[in-house]
Symmetry: C2
Subunit: 415 residues, 2 copies
């Protein structure tokens, strides 16, 4: 099945414990979909009244589960989530749609709910038909056995080539009521004929209407998951779903239906912080990485322009290879800024590696000292700042370097 | 100065000899701009009446020589071309503009021409001030000594990390007159804080007006150089210039001023063929390549859509790493098609590796045989065909694979 992945240098020494969220319970199983001796099936059962929101891949070849989620999100109600790893059920044609239908039917029976209250996600090999028969019969029992205190198990069941599970938790207040937000996701590890697949699931006991939740998730995805890249390759399966059980209403939280409500500010901030945390964890587990790299672009005409410049840097193979080689190759930053197509003033452009200014006013900085900056490049966390010199907007993008291990993981898996 | 480049497996066993072109003469010198013991300065002197056309980088951080060419092209007249390798004179601020001014002044004196008849190009390190004083004084003597039969010397003087010079020649008829088109270029090899820089110079003795020549070059660049990629990184210095000396007029060629003229058809075809040949030679010398890869996309809504899909494939690190690993990873082709953002019918999409259909009607082809296709992947030339299933337009893009050597060349150059 390929080479053994080296643990990311950014793997946390110990995982945060995610407290239970009232109204949601988890169960996992070893269904043997592709992997042996590990869980590969996750079921999350949610109480009646749970609202749902989500953002999905923009790929024109989106997987069958993505299409089902997109359809079900229209009603914004959720009772059960079924996720499998090992097979992405992408590019599987009619068989793929049938596998989703079978899963939805069994899941709806297991949770005694309507089909539109079922959400599904798959990650792993693509182009290989997913045999829903391998696990659909397990769903009833799993739904029965589900328990609240199992976020880590849930996070592990959806991993593919991740070297560590990615979890985060936050607490916020809505009025006087304390609510919890938990999230976990899997990231961009690849082996076998797989592709980067980002799955993220967020749960909260807050009482929030589906459309308000949708507005927050859409807004925050822009500056979190959509500002993170490993290799610029959009998956067929990218899925970020959020579920609000509303259990906090029983503790006095007044349900909120408008994303713009002032009462939702702290919750919105906490949700953003959690999504940002998870996005960074994904970049920190990018295939074969040796360094975590942050591109901060300022002085741009708009946030979108700043993000595009930062992404041009973060997706440049030649710049990322230089960073892997601990080479403060700011010329390649100039190139990436130029190729982004966004406005930048060549004669005002400035670039920093860490706190060291390497270029200013369109040429090498007077104080540039190769040795000092080369020493900075030996750090594991690298920050590159760019001032485009044409405006006041800024954006941040997270990524990793491009190493020999990336090539080995993605080229040599058959050997 | 870094690691020794391995000769590309696609380097020609012997170089084509380019015949002299009436009206143009070349001289080269070892100016010691950056390299030792090799030529790094090229002068091409052209007869009065030579027309000029060109396409230049779209980079927002274009180099000083690019800006000068863009300005001088407006008049469409040329008498002298000066090219240096070793220093790109990019991101060098005011000093960069001054270096261009000094070069133009000395070159104009050397060729007894006006400043707008001078064209300049630089390739190599960026961000390092170019000392025009190192070579400007040589231009007069070089212009005097220039000889017609020196295309190979010219091609060698502009190389940076190319492992072989790239030359091509074609013959065409305009009416009854035979005309010659010669071209040479340098490609995407990188060492040191350099970036991919594509320079291409084309010379012909045909008598063609500047605007007609411009129209042909613009049109053909789209389907040749702009359909070739090594790593998706746009240089600050990309320059493709074409010069027509008009010497064929003395042999009876009636000068042509309209690109649409039927008499120009054979010339236009030959020019396109020459530019395509040179573009492919650049891809075949991509850094660290082991395979030359052609993506042919059909069934698209427009040529632009087909090209965008093909470029999404050709710029996908994970797909190119799979090809380096001789893995027929068609799932990654599906991903790249999806991420291109262009229309594709997921349920009609078809993919071939060579002549082997691997996917059809949105799922794995019935006849797909892993062993057969894996054996095909051992070839040095790989063709991947995609049918997007939504239209009739097609486009072809040339690239190379992504190997450990690419990482070594771009990451480890200091070691």
């Amino acid at each position: 099945m390929g080479k053994i992945m080296t643990l990311s240098p950014f793997a946390p020494k110990s995982l945060a414990h995610l407290p239970p969220i009232e109204g949601v319970r988890f169960a996992t199983a070893e269904a043997g979909i592709r992997y042996k001796n590990r869980t590969d099936l996750l079921v999350a059962v949610m109480d009646a009244g749970t609202t749902a929101a989500g953002v999905l891949t923009q790929s024109k070849t989106a997987s069958a589960p993505v299409l089902a989620c997109r359809k079900h999100l229209k009603k914004g109600e959720a009772r059960i989530l079924v996720v499998n790893s090992g097979n992405a059920n992408a590019f599987t044609g009619k068989k793929g749609r049938e596998a989703v239908d079978v899963t939805v039917r069994h899941a709806a029976a297991a949770a005694s709910c309507k089909p539109h209250e079922v959400f599904v996600a798959s990650t792993g090999v693509i182009g290989e038909p997913l045999e829903a028969g391998k696990f659909a019969h397990l769903l009833g029992k799993l739904a029965e056995d589900a328990v609240p205190d199992a976020f880590e198990d849930a996070a592990r069941a959806i991993m593919t080539t991740d070297t560590y599970p990615k979890v985060a938790t936050r607490i916020a207040h809505i009025g006087d009521a304390e609510v919890t937000i938990n999230g976990f996701c899997k990231g961009a590890g690849m082996i076998a004929p797989d592709m980067a697949t980002m799955l993220c699931f967020i749960f909260t006991d807050a009482a929030i209407g589906a459309s308000a939740l949708q507005e927050l998730v859409t807004q925050h995805a822009k500056t979190t998951f959509n500002c993170m890249t490993v290799d610029g390759d959009t998956s067929t399966s990218d899925t970020c779903l959020a579920f609000a059980t509303g259990a906090a209403a029983a503790r006095g939280q007044k349900p909120i239906d408008k994303a713009g409500s002032k009462k939702l500010k702290a919750f919105s901030d906490a949700l953003h912080d959690l999504m940002r945390d998870l996005a960074i964890q994904v970049a920190k587990d990018g295939e074969g990485l040796s360094k975590f790299v942050t591109f901060e672009v300022g002085g741009a005409k708009s946030w979108a322009a700043a993000r595009k410049i930062a992404l041009a840097c973060a997706n440049s193979p030649i710049l990322k290879a230089a960073i892997a080689g601990e080479d403060p190759n700011w010329g390649r930053v100039v190139m990436a800024v130029g190729k982004s197509g966004e406005a930048a003033d060549r004669d005002k452009l400035a670039i920093w590696f860490g706190t060291y200014c390497v270029a200013r006013d369109g040429e090498r900085a007077q104080e540039y000292d190769e040795k000092t900056v080369a020493a900075y490049m030996k750090n594991r966390d690298i920050v590159v700042r760019v001032d485009a010199g044409v405006g006041k907007a800024s954006a941040t993008v997270w990524t990793c370097d491009l190493t020999h291990d990336y090539i080995s993981i993605n080229a040599d898996y058959r050997s």
